[in-house]
């Protein structure tokens, strides 16, 4: 009986863990605290992250980072903002790289590393889970 309870408890814990991993409250696009804009539209974000627009509206050259492939926040960002799956994204960048028109953004490890990088990089842009945001970076777009 004890074994069954433990097994059920374990399964419940695992299920809760999986739910926690796959549900993201909100992805937010963040920028360097001194960045020239107060907000970005979803369309502007798409163009910047796909390398189609290289400048921040009214500002300097956009310096963009991704999160590493396979991370939940990355999947959410590309699903909500860009409407692309990971395989579509790989195919897109392969074509861009092949034609010599650009390179994909650098991919950083997690929210904390992205936030540190954005804080330290003038005109830097990244995205993180809303739970990781504080007033050291500027929130430019929320993707609920």
């Amino acid at each position: 009986m004890k074994t069954t309870r433990r097994a059920l408890g374990g399964l419940l814990g695992l299920a809760l863990m999986l739910c926690t991993v796959s549900v993201w409250a909100e992805v937010v696009v963040i920028g360097y605290p001194g960045i020239a804009v107060d907000s970005l539209s979803a369309k502007q974000v798409v163009k910047i992250w796909l390398g189609k627009s290289k400048r921040i509206p009214g500002g300097g050259k956009a310096k963009v980072v991704d999160q590493k492939p396979g991370s939940g926040v990355r999947d959410e960002f590309y699903k909500k903002a860009v409407n692309k799956t990971e395989s579509q994204l790989k195919s897109y960048w392969a074509k861009v790289v092949f034609t010599g028109k650009g390179v994909p953004p650098k991919a950083l490890a997690d929210d904390a590393v992205v936030k540190e990088w954005v804080m330290a990089t003038p005109d830097g842009l990244g995205y993180v889970d809303s739970g990781s945001v504080d007033d050291k970076v500027k929130v430019l777009l929320r993707l609920p």
Partner: protein
């Protein structure tokens, strides 16, 4: 103690960025295609074939420098040979200016800069005849060069201006085999003479409309590359200027290019002549994955033009009908029927099936 903690935290963050950030990741990829082709040309046979195998790699060496290589295994009619298609290194001098050296695709027109190799990228099986590779039977343009390139993009209020200016080894050809025996030499490691070829392309991409327009040009002193006393001598002074455009709507798209080639014979009595080449291609997405395409192409020049005579180029027009079916983002089936009408001789019908793919 607090300072020590802060320094340690900073060091940990920096280390994690350096270790995990793939700033030096190499982007690899491969394009391939397999085909079945048939034709009603005299002596033609139907055949299955494997297309060129294209491998490429690009790496951001540091925050401002990147290098690119592309090699292609292709059949030259007898065996498979390895070609270095592109090999370049570029550095960003400013946000808007990059400088690079190496072997590049000549920035002539839309097709050569977007669909050069990689059959999956283009909607049709065939490319416009006059954009054939330098060693092809219909080649008239130096589609590669080895030299120095400055490129960049300038963001404007209503769009983006992209530019590329370059200077490279002048193309040449060997006249020893007589008319029809020459092909354009790119001169990868040497140049028969001191004349270098400059060129440019400027494109404007609108923010408001899905339109891109471009202008481009190139000047060549075509030298003799056949061994002998005339080696390096300028055979033809050539200027190439052109326009291109692309419209990419939600369902409908169109691409067009126009080339004007002026060839001035410097060794014979053929004089100066002008040739024109153009194509217009239209596509319509019936669904997300099915797209019929039509292309009309034309090449015209003066019969006395020394340049085209040495290359053995035929004047012709061609109608191309294709149907593209995307099985996924990384492979597509294409069916194509084309009718070529040479200025002299019989029309030729060609039929093709291609399965094109990429590996990531």
């Amino acid at each position: 103690m607090k300072t020590l903690h802060k320094l340690s935290a900073g060091a940990v963050t920096l280390m994690s960025v350096l270790m995990i950030s793939p700033a030096n990741a190499v982007e690899f990829g491969m394009f391939g295609d397999v085909n079945y082709l048939d034709s009603d040309a005299t002596d033609a046979t139907n055949a299955f074939s494997i297309g060129p195998l294209d491998l490429y790699a690009m790496q951001s060496i540091d925050d401002k420098t990147r290098a690119f290589i592309e090699i292609v295994f292709e059949n030259d009619g007898e065996s498979f040979v390895l070609d270095i298609e592109r090999l370049w290194i570029k550095r960003a001098l400013t946000d808007d200016v990059n400088v690079g050296m190496g072997r590049f695709h000549t920035p002539l027109g839309y097709w050569n800069t977007n669909f050069h190799h990689g059959a999956l990228l283009q909607d049709t099986i065939s490319r416009p005849g006059f954009l054939d590779y330098e060693d092809g039977v219909s080649a008239i343009l130096p589609l590669h060069y080895v030299g120095l390139e400055v490129d960049g993009s300038i963001e404007m209020s209503a769009g983006e201006l992209d530019y590329a200016v370059y200077v490279g080894n002048g193309p040449s050809y060997d006249t020893s085999a007589g008319p029809g025996g020459g092909e354009i030499d790119i001169n990868n490691v040497a140049d028969p003479n001191r004349a270098k070829s400059p060129g440019f392309r400027v494109t404007y991409t609108s923010d408001a409309y899905p339109v891109q327009i471009g202008v481009f040009g190139m000047l060549n002193d075509m030298g003799e590359s056949g061994a002998g006393v005339n080696y390096g001598r300028t055979l033809v002074e050539q200027s190439i200027f052109g326009l291109d455009f692309k419209y990419a709507g939600e369902h409908f798209d169109a691409i067009g290019e126009y080339y004007n080639l002026k060839n001035d014979d410097k060794v014979g009595s053929a004089g100066s002549h002008t040739g024109t080449a153009y194509y217009l291609q239209f596509g319509y997405h019936l669904t997300n994955v099915i797209k019929p395409v039509y292309r009309y192409e034309s090449l015209e020049f003066d019969d006395a033009d020394a340049y085209f005579n040495i290359l053995g180029t035929m004047q012709e027009t061609r109608h191309v009908f294709a149907l593209r079916y995307d099985l996924s983002d990384t492979n597509a089936l294409k069916f194509e029927i084309s009718k070529s009408d040479p200025k002299t001789g019989d029309s030729v019908m060609q039929y093709g099936l291609q399965w094109a793919f990429m590996l990531l």
